[in-house]
């Protein structure tokens, strides 16, 4: 049996990357704002001030990411999935949402959560292991992180169907990765969304890796092309260009609100960090690849642009940095102070209504715990 490689390993550098070729781009890596014929109009209103705000968002979520990674190293968090490198994809899309839209995400969308109004403090408990969810989904219009790959694509589709039935012009958006596109659920979601013309946006962050597997192992061709085959209009966008991401997301949301049904967005970006704090990327990817992508850093190009526009002054930088530090501190304080949950909370919320087997086990466990009290 021959041993030729079943699938290419390397995931490709930006220059050679087929996914990036033809992807919608407005802000070039060198910081030049071009007028993109088809989508440019979607962000015509995004002036220097607005762009500075997006820059602030990106700096803050990157700071959150760094702080959380440190907290994990210090044993304050059990795990953390960094978004380093995906700031533009998450901020550009999340800032295109309306408060009554609803996001269903994976575990990596902490930047999206930040934009939805999830407080940094609320980001901590799940990764510290004190609860399965840090916030009430309805209070922020975002579901809690989904660990089962691609499962949320169907939830977003069903929620969108509900919006359609309610006569609302809000939309649902599903965030998932390149690897997720291989799961049957992701394809079934495209089928259901297309059939019912559900107002849902499928936002795929192609960060080129699914843990150690390159996107080339998940698909023989472009992910954006995948959706088109289901009758779902799709577009590939430079995922490290916050303006372009916002533009295509706004266009997709507009289609959904107008009854035009689902859309698929492939945001071509790169996971600059490890899969999670438990991962070691040096085992499976070339340093050169990472280096090449560093030149595409989503924050750099915005700064270059804003500097060239003369609006990102030293004062402004300092303000942003101060904001980021303050957010990071709030997060750290909330994390470190967090008490362990009450053992008896084990039995809470398993059911919404009384369940006799749970009640029996609760009673017995309470007696069990008491037996230790008595022992003292």
């Amino acid at each position: 049996m021959s041993n030729t490689v079943a699938a290419p390993r390397a995931s490709g550098t930006p220059d050679s990357d087929p996914a990036l070729r033809g992807a919608v781009r407005i802000l070039t890596p060198s910081g030049e704002r071009t007028d993109e014929p088809e989508y440019g109009c979607q962000v015509a209103d995004v002036d220097d001030e607005a762009l500075l705000a997006l820059h602030d968002d990106m700096v803050v979520v990157r700071r959150i990411d760094t702080e959380a990674t440190n907290l994990q190293r210090q044993g304050e968090l059990a795990l953390w999935p960094p978004l380093l490198g995906q700031e533009a994809a998450q901020i550009g899309s999340a800032r295109a949402l309306r408060s009554d839209d609803f996001a269903f995400t994976s575990y990596r969308e902490n930047g999206v959560a930040y934009c939805r109004g999830v407080t940094p403090a609320q980001l901590m408990p799940v990764w510290r292991g004190v609860t399965a969810s840090g916030w009430d989904p309805y209070s922020v219009g975002m579901a809690t992180p989904q660990v089962i790959i691609a499962a949320q694509t169907l939830h977003a589709t069903g929620y969108a169907l509900g919006l359609q039935y309610d006569g609302s012009d809000a939309a649902a958006i599903a965030y998932f990765g390149d690897g997720a596109t291989s799961e049957g659920d992701a394809s079934e979601a495209l089928v259901f969304a297309a059939t019912y013309k559900a107002p849902v946006v499928f936002f795929c962050q192609n960060n080129h890796w699914a843990i150690s597997e390159p996107v080339t192992l998940q698909s023989g061709s472009s992910l954006a092309g995948r959706a088109a085959g289901f009758g779902v209009p799709s577009v590939a966008v430079d995922g490290n260009d916050v303006l372009a991401v916002m533009a295509v997301t706004r266009a997709a949301l507009a289609r959904a609100r107008a009854g035009g049904g689902p859309s698929f967005i492939e945001a071509v970006t790169y996971r600059m960090g490890p899969h999670t704090t438990a991962d070691d990327p040096t085992r499976y990817r070339e340093p050169a690849e990472l280096e090449a992508w560093r030149r595409m850093d989503p924050i750099d190009r915005v700064e270059k642009h804003l500097v060239s526009r003369g609006v990102l002054t030293d004062e402004r930088r300092a303000e942003t940095q101060a904001h980021a530090d303050q957010v990071a501190k709030a997060m750290r304080d909330a994390c470190i102070g967090m008490p362990d949950p009450d053992p008896m909370s084990l039995f809470e919320h398993v059911y919404a209504e009384p369940h006799s087997d749970i009640d029996r086990q609760r009673t017995r466990f309470a007696a069990y715990l008491d037996s230790f009290e008595d022992a003292r």
């Binding site: 089962i148 939830h155 039935y165 309610d166 049957g184 059911y351 006799s356």
Partner: protein, 333 residues
């Protein structure tokens, strides 16, 4: 009161639920124009429209995953899985999403999803059309499991299940769809969910079963009576939670229990019933609980199913074992 088949009672129960609550939706494969392969949803799409009674694409994970999203949005989806053997593609969405969403979100998001599944054998079906998958779901925290055996319970429990804020697996024994009986549609009776029902009182042994085997158990009790053996017959109805009080009350009186179900024996619901009854009635038991079940084999071709499925004779063989009489189930050594 009006005479209905179990299928008719389910149809009436769905109509009542759709009428009572605009958030109730019915979804599944072929449930619209066709009315479902068993016609349980017959006429509902015409009456309530294609949005409240939705034909879905052919994908069970898609059906349940979409139902989760609809429930997230405040709807109460009633999903039909066409046959027992076709629920497995949806297993991940049921076990990891439907069952855990309420606890995952600390109670913020409710999953009032009812999953209707025609189950069991006895109708000469093709492969994958006769499974009894209740054990998988009764073992899964976060789910409630109901199995109906007659038109009245079908009508009542289906509405209870839809009204319940927790997800409910609702098992309908195919072989009883045509069973006819008087059904009181007044909904005056207290909700039956979570409770077992003593269908026949007896003193020598307790015979516990559910779904399609309930009628067989009653016939077995008749036959036993002819031989002077008095059997108490209990229809479990709720497989999660289990009505232990009803079971213990009966077994402490009779001292002997026979448990019957169609599913394979190993790690089946009967194992839980035997273990739980022994825990509660150990000092009252005259004999170990006896299990009369399908064998540990994939459901066989239809010409063989009558040998695989517990019937009157095998139930009586189990009763003999429980009474310490000669039986093929005599204790192992």
């Amino acid at each position: 009161m009006s005479a209905m088949t179990m299928g008719g009672a389910l149809n009436a129960g769905l109509r009542a639920a759709l009428t009572a609550d605009p958030k109730v939706l019915v979804m599944g494969e072929d449930i619209g124009a066709l009315g479902g392969v068993y016609r349980i949803t017959d006429g509902l799409q015409r009456e309530f429209g294609p949005r409240r009674v939705m034909d879905t694409p052919l994908a069970e994970s898609g059906i349940l995953g979409t139902a989760v999203g609809l429930a997230y949005r405040g709807y109460r989806p009633v999903c039909e899985i066409q046959f027992d053997g076709f629920i497995y593609p949806a297993f991940d969405q049921i076990v990891s999403q439907v069952a855990r969403m309420h606890s995952r979100t600390n109670g913020a998001v409710k999953m009032p999803i009812t999953i209707r599944v025609p189950v069991g054998g006895g109708i000469g079906s093709a492969e994958h059309h006769s499974d009894s998958p209740e054990a998988y779901f009764a073992h899964t925290p976060g789910l409630r499991v109901v199995s109906v055996s007659n038109p009245q319970d079908a009508y009542d429990l289906l509405q209870d299940a839809i009204a319940c804020d927790d997800p409910v697996l609702f098992f309908e024994p195919k072989r009883r769809y045509h069973m006819k009986a008087e059904v009181d549609t007044a909904r005056s009776r207290p909700a039956a969910m979570g409770t077992a029902r003593v269908l026949r009182e007896g003193t020598d042994a307790t015979l516990v079963t559910f779904g399609g085997l309930v009628q067989v158990a009653l016939a077995a009790a008749d036959a036993a009576a002819d031989e002077g053996v008095s059997l108490e017959v209990i229809d479990l109805r709720s497989l999660s939670p289990i009505d232990w009080v009803a079971l213990a009350t009966s077994v402490r009186r009779t001292g002997r229990v026979v448990i019957a179900h169609e599913a394979p024996e190993s790690v089946g619901l009967g194992a839980e019933l035997a273990a739980g009854i022994t825990e509660r009635c150990f000092y009252f038991l005259e004999h170990a609980p006896v299990r009369v079940t399908g064998f540990d084999i994939p459901f066989p071709p239809s010409k063989l199913e009558r040998h695989h499925l517990p019937d009157l004779d095998r139930m009586l063989d189990g009763v003999d074992a429980a009474l310490g009489r000669p039986s093929s189930l005599a204790e192992e050594d």
